[in-house]
Amino acid sequence: MQNIPLEYYLILSGIIFIIGAIGMMTRRNAIILFMSIELMLNSVNLSLVAFSSFLGDSAGQVFVFFVMAVAATESAIGLAIIIALFRKKETVYVDEANLLKW
């Protein structure tokens, strides 16, 4: 495994993060926005694990564990919000949820 440089993992992580950010800003379906957030969280996890393995420090993998716990929390709460929104407005498009818009 000595043949893959650290930069390759970081570049791959950056590319996936950019794809997630583009999805976050262009799509309007709340569930796809949610999946874009998961993509970005995963790309950060990849760079954390890469740093952890290359530097020989286990703190990065522990951080990934906590990121996974927070992502599970976020998915439960976010999907509950989406279901509540669908029940109220019959839509999951975030443009149509404009009750608090000034």
Binding site: M1, Q2, N3, I4, P5, L6, E7, Y8, Y9, I11, L12, I15, F17, I18, I19, A21, I22, G23, M25, T26, R27, N29, I31, I32, M35, S36, L39, N42, N45, L46, V49, S52, S53, F54, L55, G56, S58, A59, Q61, V62, V64, F65, F66, M68, A69, V70, A71, A72, T73, S75, A76, I77, L79, A80, I81, I83, R87, V92, Y93, D95
Partner: protein, 170 residues
Amino acid sequence: MSVELIIFIILGVLAIASAILTITARHPIVSAMSLVFNFLILAGLYLTLNAQFISVMQVLVYAGAIMVLVIFTLMLLNLSDEEKFKYKFDYRKIIAWMIAGAFVVELIAIFTNPSISSPGISPNSVEIGTAQNIGAELFSNYILPIEIAGILLFGAIVGAMVMAKRKITE
């Protein structure tokens, strides 16, 4: 070109392709399926980094639990035709591409900097990635964060039930 590098390139291309399919697919189920694929590919990438425990957790937590929840919600809401939906604001796309371009420029500026030296993978990375080592770290040095994570998960359970339940009084 070594075998490890070939495996990394295959996994990387598949990861990028499934990520692009996730944000461009018209039907949300296609997005969810390609996101599951992306998570499995990332579990393979963690294995190339000798992180066994995180790889197993990726498959269990992300590809298992979280995506089951997402697909369950998709089935519950029964979404179909996205084509009738039109983008109301086009300037959002322009801003999105501008921010993405800024990220790309930043990445290129960082990785073409010749002063960055890459260390090799650590010789003790195999011992670091085991469940034994991660568990020992979690329950010794990180005992307070793991308790806080437990409280957070408990709050999330209660909050999700309160928000998703039907109002009985109305």
